[in-house]
Symmetry: C2
Subunit: 247 residues, 2 copies
């Protein structure tokens, strides 16, 4: 791998409950923070319902476009859990009960005195050619097929699978970020900030406003792989803000 | 409008800060709950960065596919706010300072003793043919162009714009939902629940597990437009769970 190769990713959240508003997604932010920390650039997120056509279409677009696709949701034992079958359909491979998954699940359930019912065996259905993602939280594994990583929707289990799969991932240069917070509305710093962005085209600059208790607040965020260049841009911005009495 | 016409929507969240994990999206859930409550079916969500090509591509796919597209983010005064220009590019229309927007913004800023700088005037740049979304939280308006509704990313302002635009939207049959919570793992109720889904194909049934403090919990959610049918399905499910001593 070239040291400066950019590794990209998309997240596909699967679940009617997110689209109906019944459940608030908690996984996108966790995955975004994790990928940024290990040097994978998250480029796109999609949320679709429990519908095979929608899942297949999204997976096939995203796996072509990005280095990795991370899915969450739809790998439980109930009839609305259709992610494994949908991934199989997307890749055009069979989905069957995988002896490796059964070998992981059976002793774990037995130890907890839980019966391995036909419903629970649904969670051992893995597309042909996939590697299992064994994890510490759940007896039922996630899996990785090609560049698609399939994880649970329950946040604790998702996190465990994300950690478990991480050492199998290629990563690129880590993007660093620094920020300056000013007690100003965006409109007051926008011209200066745009000029600074033009002076440092290799540093990504974003401005994030908030307003609470009658007080404007704007966070100016600078992001880039070169830490020295980033620090130079930050110091320059801080100086200009001070000169114009905006800091 | 036919009473039973299904009205659909997508949400497009625009912002590097969500993809980097710096900011946790708070708007998707708010919009999902609101649309469900007024009888609009949210079918898909996408999150893209502050990049015109990605925004244009997503807007043009989604506005063809769904009745409405709601965007959040990227309409502030700074250089990374490129949503208005991207929407203009998606529709192939010009984007200029709109006298109607200036007429709203100028007195609001004057009343607060704030200067209408060139940076702030960027927020008056509206694609040709759009209607403004005047709202109570922000002097700078959102806008609606065709079936695309463009809103701020700051949650309080987004909510205000969402409320302001609501009476301009067509709505369909409201989807009701009822639920039964059992202190069981999904695997124990999955077979019964799947059989019940087969008996009521017109009712959408989903199962949502959680686990905390050593206790399994599964929420069985039934959704549908016909309240009587929904209640019949709920009562039947509760009876079956009781008979098998699973409730």
């Amino acid at each position: 791998m070239a040291q400066d190769e950019i590794i990209t990713a998309a997240v596909l959240v699967i679940g009617d409950e997110i689209l109906s508003g019944r459940t608030k997604d908690q996984n996108i932010s966790t995955i975004a923070v994790h990928l940024t920390a290990i040097g994978i650039a998250l480029r796109e997120v999609r949320i679709v319902g429990d519908e095979e056509g929608a899942i297949v279409a999204a997976v096939n677009v995203l796996r072509e476009r990005y280095t990795y696709v991370f899915t969450t949701g739809g790998i439980g034992p109930t009839h609305d859990d259709i992610t494994a079958d949908s991934i199989g359909a997307a890749f055009g491979v069979a989905v069957d009960i995988d002896p490796r998954a059964v070998a992981v699940m059976a002793p774990a359930y037995a130890a907890r005195g839980i019966e391995l019912t036909p419903a629970r065996l649904r969670m051992a259905r893995i597309p042909s050619g996939a590697d299992l993602i064994i994890n510490s939280m759940s007896a039922a594994p996630g899996f990785k097929l090609g560049n698609v990583i399939v994880m649970a929707g329950v946040p604790d289990i998702m996190r465990s699978m994300l950690v478990a799969v991480t050492n199998q991932l290629r990563t690129g240069p880590k993007v660093n970020s620094v920020s300056i917070v000013v007690a100003r509305a965006e409109g007051e710093i926008a011209d200066l900030f745009a000029a600074h962005q033009r002076a440092y085209p290799d540093v990504a600059m974003g401005s994030y406003p908030s307003f609470s208790e009658g007080q404007y607040r704007t966070e100016l965020v600078l992001r880039g792989a070169d830490a020295d260049r980033l620090e130079e841009a930050r110091v320059g911005l801080a100086r200009m803000l001070a000169e114009r009495e905006l800091s």
